[in-house]
Amino acid sequence: MTQFIFFSGKGGVGKTSMACAHAVRYADEGQRTLIVTTDPASNLADVFEQEIGHQVTPIAGVPNLSAMEIDPDKATQEYIDRAMAPIRTAFPPQIVQVMEEQMSGPCTAEVAAFDRFTDFLDVPANNGLAFDVVIFDTAPTGHTIRLLELPAEWSQSIDAASAGSGQTCLGPAAAIQDAKHKYERALSAMRQSAQTSFVFVLHPEAISIKETRRAIHELIKLDIETFRLIINGIIPPEGALNPLFAARAKMQAGYLVQIESGFPYSKQCMTLLADEIKGISKLRQVGKIFFDGEPASRLDEGASVQLQSETLSSSLDDVRARIQPNGHRRTVFFAGKGGVGKTVASCITAVWLAREGHKTLLLTTDPAAHLGDVLDTLVGDEVTPVSEQANLWAANIDPKAAAETYKARILDDARQRGRPESAILMMEEELNSPCTEEMAAFDKFIEYASQDEWDSVIFDTAPTGHTLRLLELPVDWSKQIDVKVFASVDATAADDVAKERFGKVIEMMSDPRQSTFAFVMYPESTPILEAWRAAQELGTVGVHPGLVVANMVIPPEHTTTPFVQSRRIMQEKYLKEIAQRFSVPLVQIPLLPIEIKGLKMLTELGEQMYDMEKVTV
């Protein structure tokens, strides 16, 4: 029986490295192994140092190993092509065009990506040759959960559709019985503890622990209960010889105790390495450390490269010009892979702007949001002032709650119009589609972001892949509205209002005087590539990066041991790469002995990042 292993955990915790190290180890043991990524910002190719792409690809140098990256865009295009084939031959060009426009909507992308995902759970065969192990390097947590929740929601919505209008976003209910069985089989395979296990990779840090707990809780609700934990990034004894790293090691020890007592699952630890995990031989070495308990290879003391310790940050005037309101309101979007510090960067920036006297709104739509943790205050669903910080308001847009509100509003309206209960019931079924959440969350964001009272709006966006779809929505939507008008479905006044509203948002996001996209990343290879890809994807909708934020940068004055020096050298190489690749102002958040939390710390960091003169004078 094929074994399925899902690697989960917030992005940036080393999920892909650990998944790849497992894949290489199983393959080396003689098991036919496939590693699949469903992450929209996949980086398998970076870790294996070879092109992979959208098909099962043998990995050079590892005989039993294949890999595949499910590219959501490509999956969507394949799906559209297959669906459009009969239409292209039979219908006139105008209709073909309308249909193609419509197929480019967000629902199609969800459906298509998920369809590919279940393909591998259902029949993991490659030319009739079954795999012994299929490893899923899944997307960051919030997105993972949505993906895994889909089968349950979809079976429900397919059942509901059979009873209701007979049609769903997926097509006529009668025709998707086949797909339905496929999704049910997928979910049932996920629930077989003899066949499937979920591995959570986490750091010994508060947010990572909270995140893991939340994700496990969500899965338990879906009757999935086979879990294993990998606690990654443990500072080794030779790393803790330095005061900064010693303080962090002490902090880690406290959290390890919490993990030990808080999670009744099997646990394994993985050491923080002095260099990065890339390439087959490094993955094999990681396997030896992880599975066989071998010590990490000793650093070559002689090879210590001269630290440059130059200030790689940009001029503060340039940086400030990208975040301060400039005669009109400015919206700053923090983008980047989940876990790289978008929340921290947005909190520091929002607090700094508020203290500069700008009326500031801090927003998130990330289902895994932790604004409240960082601000050390309660942040709810509605816009509320942050206590003890004048000029600052915050809100946490929960997609599920937003969807409920949205549903309630539409159904109330229908009742007021005197629609019969049978129709209301059907509408309710239709609204239970997975797309409602995404749409509702975005709707809410627009509602807040277009309020005129704010000088600054800071948007702590969701992890990259999710963010992109969300942010691309307005463009898609205005296309869809065009289609509706074009399709001679009555162009109601409501459509015009909506179109104007979305138009304003698109304009705002693509105007660098009104908006700044700030990409947050660690100075490490994979996060930079991911941010770069995300930036390029945004470029296709006319949105370009305005600022880059490098997080967890080791301050030069702390590079007192070979271990820390080795990590700082790696960081400097990548700080340079960031500056070259993005050619926009760069700002750094230092690595600190403790986690960033509370207004006092946020204030100090804001001054250090945006106001250095003030501090040094």
């Binding site: 219908f91 309308v98 049609q167 097509g171 797909a179 119009r417 129709a423 059907m426 797309c435 479905v489």
Partner: protein, 119 residues
Amino acid sequence: MSNVIPLLNTLPTSVAPADVEFFDPPMCCPTGLCGPTLDQTLLDMNEIVLTLQRDHVRVERYQMASNPNAFLSNAEVMKLVREKQMEALPIIVVRGRVIKVGAYPSAEEISAALNGEIK
């Protein structure tokens, strides 16, 4: 991997055509709820469909994306689509006869057609 989507090319399982057939313009779902704004006309239409179904009238709704064959197998519908393109949709067929082109009918129009009345 098969290159065929089983969702497509699926004709209604019943042999006899439904009493009332809707050939809808392209949209997300028949209620219009999936779109960014609500279309009350579509909601009205839905209610009419539900009422008809309650009265045991057999109703089918077809969309080009999911039921291209329903369009293709109705020569008159295809003729209208080729001539008028998007302008033709929706097309409503009652017992094999086209009763409305380019707009949705009222409940009265449908029941009149079902009762064999000629407009």
